[in-house]
C-alpha cells in the first residue's frame, strides 16, 4: 500500500514539474509583458501547488505536512497579489501593448 502511495506521489510531482517547466517556457515564448505575466502567474502557481501536494502525499500525515500546507496556503494567497501589484504598476506607469500593424 505504501509503495502505491509513493508511486502516485512521484507521478504527481512529475506533473508539477511539467507545469513548472511550461511556466518558465511561457515566460520566454510570449513577446508581450501582459501575456507573459499571465502565463507565469497561472501556470507557475499550478506547478507549485501540484508539487506541494505530491510532497505532502509522499510524506504522509505529520507535523512536517502541516508546515507544507502552511507554505502552500501562503503561496496561493500571496502570488496572485504580487503579480497583480506588478501588472498594476505596469498599467499605471503607462505601459501599453503596441498594436501590430
Amino acid at each position: 500500500m505504501a509503495q502505491i502511495v509513493e508511486w502516485i506521489a512521484n507521478i504527481i510531482i512529475v506533473i508539477g514539474l511539467i507545469f513548472m517547466t511550461l511556466g518558465v517556457f511561457g515566460v520566454y515564448r510570449f513577446k508581450d509583458f501582459f501575456s507573459r505575466i499571465l502565463v507565469s502567474a497561472k501556470v507557475d502557481t499550478v506547478g507549485f501547488i501540484t508539487i506541494m501536494l505530491g510532497l505532502m502525499m509522499k510524506h504522509g500525515f505529520d507535523f512536517f505536512t502541516g508546515k507544507l500546507l502552511l507554505v502552500l496556503a501562503l503561496y496561493v494567497i500571496t502570488n496572485p497579489i504580487a503579480t497583480h501589484a506588478i501588472t498594476r504598476s505596469a498599467h499605471i506607469s503607462g505601459y501599453r501593448i503596441k498594436k501590430e500593424r
Partner: protein, 86 residues
C-alpha cells in the same frame, strides 16, 4: 540519486532560467516577473531540501523567504508606480 534529488536538480535548473528573464527583460516589470518566478522555485527547493535531510526547519526557511519575497515585490511595484515617493 534518489527521486527527490533529481527533482531538486531539475527545479534548480528551472530557477536559473527564471533568472534569465531578469537579465533579458526589456522592462523593469519583466525583471520582477523573473524574480517572482525565481522565488517560487527557491521555496520549492527549500522544501525539497527539508524533505531530503528530513529536517522540518527548512520548510520555515521557505515560508519566510516567501513572505519576504512577497513584501519586496509589493514595495518595489509601489516604488515604481509612484515614481519614487511611496
Amino acid at each position: 540519486m534518489s527521486f527527490d534529488e533529481v527533482v531538486l536538480i531539475i527545479v534548480a535548473g528551472l530557477s536559473v532560467f527564471g533568472l534569465g528573464r531578469v537579465l533579458i527583460g526589456p522592462t523593469v516589470w519583466d525583471r520582477m516577473i523573473g524574480f517572482t518566478l525565481f522565488s517560487s522555485k527557491v521555496i520549492v527547493m527549500a522544501v525539497l531540501i527539508g524533505m531530503i535531510i528530513d529536517r522540518s526547519f527548512m520548510v520555515d526557511v521557505g515560508l519566510i523567504y516567501g513572505v519576504l519575497g512577497f513584501i519586496g515585490t509589493i514595495m518595489i511595484s509601489r516604488f515604481i508606480e509612484r515614481r519614487g515617493d511611496i
